[in-house]
Symmetry: C2
Subunit: 136 residues, 2 copies
DNA sequence: GCACGATATATCGTGATACGACATATTTGG
DNA sequence: CCAAATATGTCGTATCACGATATATCGTGC
């Protein structure tokens, strides 16, 4: 029985990862250019990009960032130290902490989001093609 | 002048990052399940997924992994220690080191690649839709 | 054919960060 | 009103990518 994985499969999967990494590296470079650590940029995007009907708690953000909750706790603490995020205890459930990004952070995030939208529009065809080569 | 970034833009960009992270987390979990460090799995995929007409040198792999060359050097060293990769000096240019994955590593990579192909087929529609929401 | 800049790989020390283990605070259900 | 569940927070550790630097090899001008 021959392998069920062809050379083309390896190439296509490697190509997806390569293109994703290019996007991530681009993103991290843009974030640092405006003085943000890449993870803190992702935190801001996760908070601001949450659907309006979802409460921006630490746990929810941890899920969206796909990290353990205590990693999110530390990330939020650094962001608060840098004046990017504000915490406030939820009134409904005082175990929960609601997150909000500061006006300064929002300006940086908007600037970064414009750059990312532009870059994505440029790389989307290649990335989508790579994905569809693996998952037709 | 209003912001050129809408709420939908933030949500769509955040959604792309979320789905990419889900894929990465899935990938890292599968790699660890077969006893590979995620980066070493990526190294194997990068080597095996190289186009046939490209020489698998350390520098080339560093570019495909989007890391600095000395990061690739250390990654390769760990992979060699683990019996996953073999190095041999290029005859054409003795500065270059050509990389080859071992039969054992190839078996692991094939197994992982099957799992990734399956997962990608499952998540591709959502990911592509998210990309096209930002880059129509 | 040799000096020198360019290129490819390697080494070492460091800093950031994500995680596991554990702790605290609050809510909920019987 | 107590115990289990849930949400957040703290601390120590280990991994890993990077910058700075070093070594080896190649190519070129002279």
């Amino acid at each position: 029985m021959p392998s069920s994985v062809s050379r083309a499969d390896f190439e296509a999967l490697a190509e997806i990862r390569y293109r994703i990494r290019c996007f991530i590296v681009f993103s991290e470079a843009r974030a640092r250019e405006v003085g943000l650590e890449p993870q803190q940029h992702q935190l801001l995007l996760a908070i601001r990009g949450l659907r309006a009907d979802v409460a921006p708690t630490v746990g929810c953000i941890a899920e969206r960032l796909q990290v353990q909750h205590h990693s999110a706790v530390e990330l939020v603490r650094r962001a608060v130290d840098n004046g990017l995020v504000m915490k406030r205890v939820s009134e409904r459930d005082r175990r929960e902490v609601l997150l909000e990004i500061t006006p300064k952070a929002l300006r940086l995030l908007e600037k970064l989001t414009v750059a990312h939208r532009t870059e994505l529009r440029s790389m989307a065809p290649g990335l989508v093609a790579a994905i569809e080569a693996v998952a037709p």
